[in-house]
Amino acid sequence: MDTTGVLMTVGSKIGDYAGATIGLGLVVVGAGVGIGIVGGKAIESMARQPDMKNEIRTMMFLAAALVEGVAFFAAVICLLVVLTK
């Protein structure tokens, strides 16, 4: 069975979509881990010092928005690959 030939045929048909979707999945993993770390550290520090809750909450949203910005940036580029053949 000619594995390379099969892979190349399949890849040439769905290569664009496969690359874009796998890339998008990796980006989502990165964003999830990043925002999870920020949220976890924020909750931990709010538990350590409850009177700083409001400032920590503001900083948490800011950091989460920055991480999400990078994720959306990559998502837009993946979508660009799919939508503009």
Binding site: T58, F61, A65, L66, G69, F72, F73, V76, L79, L83
Partner: protein, 300 residues
């Protein structure tokens, strides 16, 4: 009323307001199912792009007449009028009318509309601008940041209304905002530090020449990349919400009609998330602009 009864009444009011809001938002989403034209059902990707991209024609809902806009030609200058230009105009008219009426009286005790907008203004001043820039420089930059914040907030919120488009969901408009911030950074830097001082301030003291050159290249690239990422972050956040809702609702046409049971509640949830994202993106844009402008005028 005892405090227990007052609390019970308060929570019942909140519950009924929440259900009313959710019902209203589902009603916002349902017209897309009923008022979709026949071509849209067959061409899903084209419909998705059609709802998100700019064009010189505008059809509010299928069934309404299509409005066609023509370019304005003044001599050699051509100003094209598109859907997003009309949205910018609506944004400007709405913001100007609300903000000017709210603060027309200019007394210590604000009017009713003024006292609704005052906490937002104080939030921008005390949590976004003053912590980044300090009080003296912050005071001079306040009108710029107020304009930036309310423009982005107004544009993001106008996109939530079913028939309107989001002005900030266009890369050109967000790039225009980022270019304004970039010009502000350069002007502040050159004024405070002088033309050669702007570049020598990027390099720390006592650094050998090759490392200094590499640092210089990285810092200049940083200048351009930071403003570019500002624009792309705002654009991508605004576009992503609308794209996800449109995809979910168009999914109903692909798997007819089973997907409707999941699509409409998911769309409602993402719609609510979009409201949060609209507010957060305005805050993040303004805060980062303030931080960058402050960083440009200080020695590292």
């Amino acid at each position: 009323m005892s405090s227990e009864e007052a609390e019970h009444k308060n929570s019942r009011l909140t519950f009924s307001t929440c259900t009313a809001a959710c019902v209203l938002m589902i009603l916002f989403l349902l017209p897309t199912l009923i008022f979709c034209s026949e071509e849209e059902k067959n061409e899903v990707a084209a419909t998705l792009l059609h709802h998100i991209l700019d064009s010189r024609q505008w059809q509010l809902l299928p069934g309404f007449p299509t409005m066609q806009f023509h370019d304005i030609r003044v001599g050699p200058v051509v100003i094209p009028i598109t859907q997003f230009s009309i949205m910018l105009l609506i944004n400007m008219v709405l913001l100007c009318s609300i903000l000017i009426t709210a603060f027309r009286r200019r007394s210590v005790i604000p009017s009713r509309l003024g006292s609704m907008i005052e906490p937002v203004v104080f939030f921008v001043r005390d949590s976004l601008v003053y912590p980044a820039m300090g009080e003296e420089t912050g005071k001079k930059w306040l009108p710029f940041f107020y304009t930036l914040f309310f423009f982005i907030l107004g544009a993001n919120f106008l996109g939530m209304i079913p028939m309107f488009k989001t002005s900030t969901g266009n890369l050109s408009i967000t790039t225009a905002l980022a270019v304004m911030v970039f010009v502000a950074i350069m002007i502040t830097g050159f004024r405070k530090l002088g033309f050669p001082g702007f570049f020598t301030a990027m390099i720390p003291e006592g650094v050998p020449l090759p490392i200094a050159l590499v640092l210089l290249v990285i810092e200049v690239a940083n200048l351009f990349i930071r403003s570019g990422v500002l624009s792309i972050r705002l654009f991508a956040n605004m576009i992503a919400g609308h794209m996800v809702i449109a995809s979910l609702l168009l999914l109903i046409f692909i798997l007819y009609p089973l997907a409707a049971l999941i699509s409409v509640p998911m769309s409602l949830f993402i719609y609510l998330l979009e409201v949060l994202v609209a507010i957060i993106q305005a805050i993040v844009f303004t805060m980062l602009s303030a931080v960058y402008i402050k960083m440009a005028s200080s020695h590292h």
